[in-house]
Symmetry: C2
Subunit: 280 residues, 2 copies
């Protein structure tokens, strides 16, 4: 489990670093970023995972999300993984919403994807082991998870499936029920085959019906988000949470879009939400 | 003086927008960004210019600088121009530090640059006229200027030449005496010809000797900046300011680099510096 450091910068008193590693699980070289806050020099700090959206890498949130400022204030370590396996030997598709950059945080069962596309155990097992082994300040008993769009949905599903691991959860502009929208239908059909029980296991709305968590979910979505109606459909998720007793704070933000200007605007509130839960 | 809006996003309660216009002065289409803070709906707000460094455009500071958060808190309008004339018909060079993206905020006298490279009057005259005509909340009687690297130097020179226009000035990692370092020697030779009085008129250290301003200059530079010794040379400028009575707060920031992670870290202090002067 060797890491190769690609770059490192000082940021808000802490250190942002980018690393490559050979993923045995995914069968390719993977890249991720870690922000270690200044408090880490005094002892263990909680770990907050940020899952990015379609086409993104570690860089989007670290460059454009304004995340370091708030992570430094609250003393959280931030991990930003990639959104899929990558590389010339990894199956891909020309579309932006399938293949590389569009892993949907699931384990594919269909060819040609099944060999490499196993993003959920990569996020929940392989990468945490690497973090624990290489970043001694990471307190793996206090983890939270959040993300944007496809990654917001990934955060919701991983939290609902592993509530004892990810004790806090939030999302920006998440897809809330991929089984019911074009992005998800396309990806799930390719990765999982025809609609089946497997789809439900990767759909946050189905999961919340089956196993609501005890956490308060925080979600922000912009009213000027072009993907709001066709892809995100907050009302489906809100209704499921109300019916099944999932605590949810869902805010529609007037005039904001699907972009990182929106994310940066409300990053402080999301980081505070996680800090409150993880440092309780 | 028609503007074509290219994009617009809501950000920290205000609006970031990007515009194209035909520059009669530069003989090409120019693109810039404006952040209008939420306070602008209640009346005029001060205008703060951010000049970017080599290779950059409006996007660097708006995407990676974390500038909107602090501009929104203090109620400042931010203008981010491009760093040179652009386009297929504009002379260029393959190097990153000459030609497009490397205008050095000066007026070239040498061929082939002289026809288009007139960045100082573009910043001080043409673009302000456009801003005043199209952004009614811009209070052009309260302007400040800052920037990064080549743009930090540009801000210093424009402030020193026009202290009544730019009442406040600061810089991240500025070149402080281009006439004495490789970046500047290369660009000045190309744009201005052999060393002459013209070089001195575009060199912040020479200008501060000749005409120190009454303002307090704020400068931050990282000690891990790879360009610190060969290109930035803060000690030359510090000595000139001490000798000639220019007030200067020059901070060397331990472990920080030449990047936007550094800039974002100290953006709050720079914005506060300008707000204090412009809202006094």
């Amino acid at each position: 489990m060797t890491l190769t450091q690609v770059s490192s910068w000082k940021s808000f008193g802490g250190t942002l670093s980018v690393h490559d590693h050979e993923s045995g699980l995914l069968g390719c070289t993977m890249r991720f970023a870690v922000y270690v806050p200044p408090q880490a020099k005094d002892g263990p700090v909680p770990v907050l995972w940020y899952l990015s959206g379609l086409t993104c890498t570690w860089a989007n949130v670290m460059e454009k999300g304004g995340i370091q400022e708030h992570a430094a204030r609250h003393g959280l370590m931030i991990i930003a993984p990639d959104t899929s396996p990558r590389g010339e030997d990894v199956p891909n598709d020309e579309a932006y919403d399938l293949g590389q950059g569009a892993g949907f945080y699931l384990t594919a069962t269909q060819d040609p994807w099944a060999k490499n596309y196993k993003m959920d155990p990569y996020i929940t097992d392989e990468l945490p082991d690497l973090i624990a082994a290489n970043f001694p300040a990471a307190d793996m008993s206090r983890q939270g998870i959040f993300g944007h769009s496809m990654g917001g949905h990934g955060a919701l599903t991983l939290h609902l499936k592993h509530p004892d691991t990810y004790k806090s959860c939030s999302a920006f502009s998440p897809i809330t029920s991929p089984a019911r929208v074009p992005w998800g239908e396309k990806a799930f059909t390719a990765y999982l085959g025809a609609p089946s029980i497997a789809w439900e296991q990767y759909d946050a709305t189905e999961l919340v019906k089956e196993r609501p968590s005890k956490a308060l979910l925080l979600i922000d979505t912009g009213t000027a988000d072009n993907f709001l109606e066709p892809q995100l459909k907050p009302e489906i998720f809100i209704k499921a949470c109300e019916k099944d007793g999932q605590r949810l704070d869902y805010r529609l933000r007037e005039g904001y879009g699907h972009d990182y200007y929106f994310i940066a605007t409300f990053m402080d509130e999301h980081i505070a939400h996680h800090a409150k839960a993880l440092k309780a």
